[in-house]
């Protein structure tokens, strides 16, 4: 057995050592890059493809700007919501985070609170992806919540936010951190990082530039926190190409996380309730948006036997909040037919392009509530 163990040990040891050295997710020793001043209209923040997390930008920019009228909290499905979709002179800051969990929303709300940037209205984008009792299926995302602590710790130390005691802080344990040293996704990021170092482009476009100078292959953020996708992601696709992406990626991969054991857990109920309760105390009007899905993905979600209980259960729970909190309105746009989003107005199964985001905002604010 010796050769087997030597080979196994050497391979894993090498992967762990390189992963630790690169530390692309800032788990062990790296410090994230940060913008140093507030952006103005027409400017964008170009982030490094690796070694950085958008929370850095969102939190620092919020602290550097005036209190907006509307703040968007959510995951990447809400990333395209921007100021120009709202009536003139409405100021907005989009604090949505890719792959956000409910804990992300809670922490971002704490950041809003302690930064004293409490808006009149919060748009809370929530979908079933954020909530699941079955965390084993979310192990790929679990690193986010750990990283969140790192980041929060860092942001507090840097004085961006005052030190706060967070009831949402997750326990960081050595075991989870250790297993991340042996993670394919982590290692893949490391390989990209090493390749980037060799090519010299890993830090080429990091920083603030004018949007008109933005290279098409880069992704960036506007001053209001809304996202600019790279042309690689946003090139126009016909229905067939889109369905191919959805079938291969979303339905074969993303929906995989929504297993038959998905349920709205009491923990989620409690945390969401706490979040809305706090927002009520601060007199914040909340609009909960259940974002639209591409028709193919929506149909899959409501028809396929292992998924079909998820959406009705999720909607029922969210709608229950409407009765408990008078400051909360619900806007369910899950079925894209309701708000008029076309299939080609999605990047994939669940990420809407800007035209669809505009329709959602228009639908929710005209049909449900008025600004």
């Amino acid at each position: 057995m010796k050769p087997f163990f030597i080979s196994l040990g050497l391979c894993l040891g090498m992967v762990a050592a390189i992963t630790f050295w690169a530390d692309v997710d800032h788990r062990w020793h790296r410090i994230p890059v940060m913008p140093t001043r507030g952006l103005t209209t027409g400017e964008v923040w170009v982030w490094p493809a690796i070694n950085w997390d958008e929370r850095t930008f969102k939190i620092s920019q919020l602290a550097l700007q005036k209190t907006p009228d509307v703040i968007v909290l959510g995951n990447s499905h809400a990333a395209m919501i921007s100021t120009d979709m709202f009536p003139h002179q409405t100021t907005l800051f989009n604090m949505s985070i890719s792959g956000a969990s409910l804990e992300d929303l809670l922490i971002m709300w704490q950041v809003v609170k302690v930064s004293n940037r409490i808006p009149k209205r919060i748009v809370l984008e929530i979908d079933p992806w954020m909530l699941t009792a079955d965390i084993t299926q979310f192990q790929g995302w679990r690193k986010y919540s750990n990283y969140l602590n790192d980041f929060l710790h860092f942001s507090q130390q840097s004085g961006i936010v005052r030190p706060i005691k967070l009831w949402t802080t997750k326990c960081r344990n050595l075991f989870t951190e250790m297993t991340e040293l042996f993670s394919w996704i982590e290692f893949k990021s490391v390989l990209k990082y090493i390749y980037g170092l060799r090519k010299g482009f890993s830090s080429k476009f990091v920083g603030i530039i004018l949007e008109r100078n933005l290279p098409g292959t880069e992704q960036a953020f506007h001053a209001d926190g809304s996202r600019v996708y790279s042309t690689l992601d946003s090139s126009p696709k016909d229905r067939r190409a889109l369905e191919n992406i959805i079938s291969k990626k979303t339905l074969g991969d993303d929906l995989f996380y929504l297993t038959p054991t998905w349920s709205f857990s009491p923990g989620d109920d409690y945390r969401l309730g706490l979040l809305l309760h706090e927002m009520a105390i601060y007199h914040v009007n909340v609009l909960i948006i259940l974002p639209p899905l591409h028709s193919l993905e929506y149909n899959e979600l409501i028809q396929r036997r292992e998924y079909k209980h998820i959406f009705p259960e999720f909607v029922t729970h969210i709608q229950r909040l409407n009765k408990s909190y008078p400051n909360v309105h619900i806007c369910n746009t899950g079925n894209s037919a309701w708000n008029g989003c076309q299939d080609i107005e999605f990047y994939d199964g669940s990420h809407m392009r800007a035209p669809c985001a505009a329709k959602v905002v228009n639908y929710c604010f005209s049909k449900i509530i008025h600004l």
Binding site: I135, I185, E243, R305
Partner: protein
């Protein structure tokens, strides 16, 4: 609360998870090696309960405990009692208890839903929603496996071909022994209880080399093959309407390999783990895609279930003792129930009937079939078996019908319009090469006979599998 949840999440484990490999297994094995006698049985049982609770939900323990306690106390009564009616009565209690739990958790929803649909269709009346929601409970993992295990035990005691076990912890360990608990191999009392008796007397004599080898093979099969193929197959199956003739074939052939690598991986890992404890679990797979006919396939695929169905269903029904017509009927009944055993959906019953049909086809054409070239026998068997997986994998009847139509060319012959099939073709060729040319994992003697370069290669492959551990999915048979 959050912290507690987190700890639970960390410990949420199956064989292909870090918590199992790095925490549960070393602790359980380490302590087991120090123990002997009753303490060892108690420890193994409690460890198995812990595994079961964290592999699924803690309430899963309740039906398993009911089954364990019920059969443990009924078996000695059955053994002592002489009067036939009393013995039948006791057997009836056990069957009602065991099958009742299985029926409640697994089939009640299906029956009610079927009644509901029928009444709505024929009389236009909607009813039973509240009852349906009451019956809509999660299926305890492995309930089909341990129920069949205890059933075979109690039936054998009734038939007086087995003795009732007097030691509760030994019996509880037989039911719950964690390597085979969730998805088999379906182990009989005479295969495990004597081994546990020996364990109690002598302590554990681990067979590291043989155990680790089979375990590692299983881990690699699951993570490097089954999980990779699953992503590709799912992308086709998700929308059967847009399948073409070619993608329909790619999908069901891909699924053939996915389910084989997934299920046989679990069996390999279970056998490997049991060997760490010095126990030999029965072989569950013997290169099934090398089968020469449908009958041969069922002697190689999920062997322990096939044997169970043969011993406790097919033979009691009359087997082949009452003429051809009765034999064919018995085959169909056995395969129908065997299909339903897999899942609470009529589509599994159709799958079972399809296999029943294949067995009958083979029986009727055996003289011609067996005279064909072996190569053709193998290819035809593989294709027929693979085609049957359509029923197993499709989401519903209409999907399976469409998929089958496309696969049979009834909707025309088209090149795939969606994406490039290169990746899945690569996996199909690899799957074909592995299943047709490599020997079965059980035929290896472990690391002892494996040459150094192969050991080094296996080590590197296993390292790659470890990198994917965090993203590995559940085993397909977890849901049965």
């Amino acid at each position: 609360m959050l912290r507690l949840q987190n700890i639970v999440n960390i410990c949420n484990m199956l064989f292909n998870s870090f918590p199992f490999l790095l925490l549960f297994l070393p602790i359980v094995l380490g302590i087991s090696l120090k123990l002997k006698g009753q303490a060892l049985l108690i420890w193994l049982t409690l460890a198995s309960f812990t595994f079961y609770a964290y592999a699924g939900h803690s309430w899963f323990l309740i039906p398993m405990l009911i089954t364990t306690v019920l059969d443990f106390y009924i078996a000695p009564l059955l053994e002592r009692t002489q009067q036939t009616w009393k013995r039948r009565f006791l057997l009836g209690i056990s069957l009602i208890g065991n099958l009742g739990l299985l029926f409640y958790f697994k089939y009640s929803g299906l029956i009610l839903l079927t009644c509901q649909d029928s009444i709505l269709k024929w009389f236009g009346i909607q009813w039973g929603h509240q009852l349906l929601s009451f019956l809509s409970v999660a299926l305890p993992a492995g309930i089909s496996f341990y129920t069949f295990q205890t059933l075979s035990y109690i039936i054998d005691v009734y038939r007086r071909t087995a003795h009732a076990e007097k030691n509760f912890w030994k019996f509880a360990c037989f039911v719950s022994f964690f390597p085979h608990l969730i998805a088999g191999p379906l182990t009989r009392h005479y295969q495990l209880i004597p081994a546990l008796s020996k364990l109690k007397e002598e302590g554990i004599h681990p067979r590291w080399r043989e155990g680790l080898f089979v375990f590692v093979i299983g881990l690699n099969k699951k993570i490097l093959f089954a999980d990779r193929i699953a992503i590709l197959v799912d992308s086709y199956v998700v929308d059967v309407r847009s399948m073409t003739f070619m993608t329909a074939w790619l999908a069901f052939l891909g699924y053939s390999f996915q389910i084989y690598f997934d299920f046989s991986a679990y069996s390999d890992m279970a056998i490997g783990l049991a060997r760490f404890f010095g126990i030999e679990l029965p072989q569950n797979f013997n290169s099934p895609y090398k089968a020469l006919n449908p009958s041969d396939f069922w002697r190689r695929w999920h062997i322990t279930l096939s044997q169970w169905l043969r011993d406790y269903l097919y033979i009691p029904l009359g087997g082949n003792r009452h003429g051809t017509a009765r034999l064919l009927m018995n085959v169909l009944i056995t395969m129908f129930l065997g299909g339903l055993w897999h899942g609470a959906h009529w589509i599994f019953a159709i799958w079972g009937l399809y296999h029943g049909g294949l067995l009958i086809l083979y029986h009727l054409s055996q003289s011609y079939w067996d005279r064909t070239y072996i190569f053709f026998q193998r290819i035809i068997t593989f294709l027929l078996i693979s085609l049957g997986w359509i029923f197993f994998r499709a989401n519903n009847f209409s999907d399976s019908k469409i998929w089958l139509q496309k696969a049979l060319g009834l909707s025309g012959f088209h090149y795939p319009a969606m994406g490039s099939p290169v990746e899945i073709v690569f996996w199909l060729i690899l799957g074909l090469v592995i299943t047709q040319t490599l020997p079965n994992a059980s035929s290896f003697k472990g690391f002892r006979t494996l040459a150094v370069p192969y050991q080094i290669g296996l080590g590197a492959l296993t390292a790659l599998a470890v990198l994917f551990l965090n993203y590995s999915s559940r085993f397909l048979y977890y849901q049965f």
